[in-house]
């Protein structure tokens, strides 16, 4: 099984459903004892980018099958093997990406890192390697790594 992957969404697996399945997806940030790198990255992006990501999470949490999520893309190579996918939005000719994996429990998604991508250049430049490292840290339940639920504001 791929790191953090959901067998439910594996096309070779027939999913029989579960009465315990939550109605909405819950999104988490990868956090350490000292920082929340997702929030730290997002908070310095343009307000429009923050709004778009919040809107995307608000919309996608209601979509049962993540293959149908808006703005989500499958990754290739080592990222795919690590079960990593990405949310991508375009804002003023820059691609903003949040890389994530599925959690251990149903309908849980975890953001690993945020980055921008323009003309084949990632910022931060090592974001893909960092994402793989963090995915592994979550799967192996590495000490000092936590998940922080990302709240969805219904009233704004």
């Amino acid at each position: 099984m791929a790191i953090g992957g959901y067998l439910k969404y594996n096309p070779k697996v027939i999913y029989c459903g579960s009465v315990h399945e939550p109605a909405l997806w819950t999104f988490f940030d990868y956090v350490t004892k000292s920082s929340n790198p997702i929030e730290a990255w997002l908070s310095v992006q343009p307000e429009g980018v923050q709004d778009l990501f919040n809107g995307l999470i608000k919309d996608n949490r209601k979509i049962d099958d993540p293959k149908k999520w808006g703005g989500s893309r499958k990754m290739k190579g080592a990222l795919k093997e690590s079960g990593i996918w990405e949310y991508r939005i375009d804002y003023v000719n820059v691609q903003y990406r949040l890389l994530g994996i599925f959690g251990h429990f149903r309908k849980q998604a975890i953001f690993l890192i945020g980055c921008t991508h323009k003309m084949k250049v990632y910022d931060p430049h090592n974001c893909l390697e960092t994402a793989i490292k963090r995915a592994r840290a979550i799967v192996t339940k590495e000490e000092g790594v936590f998940l922080h639920e990302r709240k969805v504001q219904e009233d704004i």
Binding site: D51, L52, D59, K68, G70, D90
Partner: protein, 177 residues
Amino acid sequence: MNERSKRISRLKADQQSRQSYVFSKVAVLVPSQIKALRLTSQTPTQKELATEVGAHQSRLSMLEQPGAANVTLETLAWIASIHKVGLIVKFASHNEMVKWENSYSQDEFSVIRLDDDEEFLQPGIHAKISTLQVGSMANGVFGIQWCHQNDDEFLLKARTNVPSDESFRNLELVGNG
């Protein structure tokens, strides 16, 4: 001051903030609706749809990508025409916009296509059948379905949840318009 209060202050004071806020809603929900229309159509993959309408798959993909395309009214009308649905673009209060966002779900988004839009195709049909006194038929009726047969006939299907009422469990009436 919490995050919401701060944002409200910015929305009140700054036109750019308001624009960005409104854009973020539309830039997520319009592509989401476009995707939902495709997924519920006869051509559920981008490739199939592109072939069907003679467009590039990359263009269809971009239209479903949040924030990627500056979609014009002309493009929206084109998408509506592809899927045989109508289109409403209207200005609204911020409160109405948020309520609509919260109530919207891509999985549940469903629009009647032109071929099935009976009220549009035959506006008189529902006026005709509304003259029947449905409420007086029986207690326990929980589902009533009107099915148009042809110009002069209609079919009424009623179902009940009363277990003992077998005679009324699946009732069909045919009447003249």
